[in-house]
Amino acid sequence: MMSNRITTTINGQSVTKEVEGRTTLSTFLREDMNLTGTHIGCDTSGCGACTVLLDGKAVKSCTILAAQVDGSEVKTIEGLAQNGQLHPLQAAFKEKHGLQCGFCTPGMIMLAVDFLESNPSPSEDEIRHALEGNFCRCTGYHNIVESIKHAAENMSGVPA
C-alpha cells in the first residue's frame, strides 16, 4: 500500500497520520479519527451529508482526498460546541425542530456555518438557495430553514 504522511489540524488538534492515497477525507474522519458525526450519504458529492469546513470553507469531504488536507485545518460537527455550550446553529436546530431523523443535520449545520459567515442576515429565499447542495430525505426543509433563520438572528453581533 502506498501511503502518505499527513499533518492536519482537526477541531483545533494537530494530528499526524499515514493515509492511503485513495482514502477520502470523509472516510478518514470516520474511520481513522472516529469522528462519526460526519455522515456519508450518497458518496458522490450530491447530498451534502459529509459537509465539513476545510480552512473555513464548507466542502463535501467525500470528494476530497485525505492526503490533500495535509497542512490544512478541518472542522467537523464535533468541533462546533465550545466548553459544553452548543453552537448557535446547533441550539437553533434543537429549538426549531430542524432535526427529523438527523442524518443530514451535521452537513446542514456545517454548510450553514460557512453560509452565515458570508451572509449574516439572509432572507428565506437566500437560505433555501444556500441549501441547494444539502438533501433532507425526510422532506423537512421547512424547519431547517427556520432553524438557520433563528440562528442568524441569535448570532448577529456574536462571533461564531
Binding site: M1, M2, N4, E20, G21, R22, T24, D43, T44, S45, G46, G48, T51, L54, K57, A58, V59, K60, T63, I64, L65, A67, Q68, D70, G71, L111, D114, F115, A130, E132, G133, N134
Partner: protein
C-alpha cells in the same frame, strides 16, 4: 465506493507537476469531476498529481486587455471577482450557478474544462467569451482558441502530457454585455440546457454576437446561424423569434431521461431568448 489504488503526489509548481506526470497519470485539481469518476472506476490512473496547492494557479489578474483566470481558481472565487463582474458578467454569473456552495468552494475552472462534460457550464460560457486556454507542456506553453479547444464528447485539445494553467478572457465590448441562462437538472445542478450570450451593439443594432450552448448536444457549440441572424437587427421579440429559430440547426440534440430531443431543442430556443432579452 472506493477508487482503484493509485499513488498520490503533491506538486509545488507547474514545472514539477509536468515532470511528475506519467503516461497513465492524471492531474488532480479540485477533484470534483475526477474523484467521482475514479470511484466509479471510469478512471483508474496509476498516480494523481495534485496541483491544488500551487497558489499561483489560483490567481485572477486584471490586465489591460484581458483578465487571466488561473486554472486552479475555484468557481466561488470567480463568482466573487469584481473585475469579472464588470468586464465579463456572464463569467461571474455562471460561476455562481455551478453546483452548490460546497462544490463552488472546491471545484476549479481548469479542472472543469479539462474534463469537458457536455453538460458543464464553463464550456458554453468560455465559447461565448472568445476565451483563450493557456496550456503548459515540457517544451513551454501554448495558447489555444476556445473554438479549437472543445473538440467533442469529453474531448479537448489538451494532450496527456499537458496541464491547463490559465484561461484568458478578453475585455471586449461584447463580453461587457453578456449573460448566462440555464435550465438546471435539480439534483446535480448540471445544465440540461445552458446558453451563454455576448453581444456588442451599435445603438439598438447588434454588431457582433457569440451564442453558445452546453447540455444540448454531445459537445458544447456555438450557434453560428443564430449569431449571423442576430447581426444588423435589434433584440426585439420579433427579431429574436426569427434569429433563434436556428439554435440547434448545426447539431444533433441529445435525448435522455431528463429531457427528450424535442424538449431540449425547445428549451434551447427558450433559453437563448431569455439570455438575449437581458442584453
Amino acid at each position: 465506493m472506493i477508487p482503484a489504488q493509485f499513488e498520490y503526489k503533491s506538486a509545488s509548481s507547474v514545472q514539477e507537476a509536468l515532470s511528475m506526470l506519467g503516461e497513465n497519470d492524471k492531474i488532480l485539481g479540485g477533484g470534483h469531476s475526477l474523484i467521482p469518476a475514479m470511484k466509479l472506476r471510469l478512471n483508474m490512473p496509476e498516480a494523481l498529481i495534485d496541483i491544488s496547492k500551487i497558489e499561483k494557479l489560483k490567481e485572477i489578474t486584471d490586465n489591460e486587455a484581458t483578465i487571466t483566470i488561473g486554472a486552479g481558481a475555484t468557481h466561488a472565487s470567480i463568482a466573487a471577482h469584481k473585475a469579472l463582474k464588470n468586464h465579463a458578467p456572464m463569467i461571474a454569473e455562471a460561476a455562481g450557478m455551478i453546483g452548490d456552495i460546497q462544490v463552488r468552494n472546491r471545484g476549479t475552472i481548469g479542472g472543469s474544462i479539462a474534463h469537458a462534460d457536455p453538460s458543464a457550464d464553463w464550456p458554453a460560457v468560455l465559447l461565448a467569451a472568445d476565451a483563450k486556454i493557456v496550456i503548459a507542456n515540457a517544451t513551454g506553453s501554448r495558447e489555444v482558441d476556445v473554438d479549437q479547444f472543445f473538440q467533442g464528447f469529453y474531448t479537448t485539445a489538451l494532450e496527456d502530457n499537458e496541464i491547463i494553467t490559465a484561461i484568458r478572457i478578453p475585455k471586449s465590448a461584447a463580453n461587457a454585455n453578456s449573460c448566462y441562462e440555464k435550465f438546471v437538472q435539480p439534483a446535480s445542478r448540471f445544465a440540461i440546457v445552458g446558453c451563454a450570450a455576448a453581444v456588442e451593439k451599435n445603438g439598438d443594432s447588434v454588431s457582433s454576437a457569440r451564442i453558445a450552448f452546453s447540455g444540448v448536444s454531445d459537445a458544447p457549440y456555438r450557434a453560428k446561424e443564430v449569431e449571423t441572424a442576430l447581426k444588423g437587427g435589434d433584440l426585439s421579440e420579433e427579431h429574436l423569434d426569427m434569429a433563434c429559430a436556428g439554435v440547434t440547426s448545426d447539431v444533433s440534440v441529445m435525448s435522455d431521461h431528463f429531457a427528450s430531443e424535442k424538449y431540449r431543442a425547445h428549451l434551447a430556443t427558450v433559453y437563448a431568448k431569455r439570455a438575449l432579452r437581458r442584453l
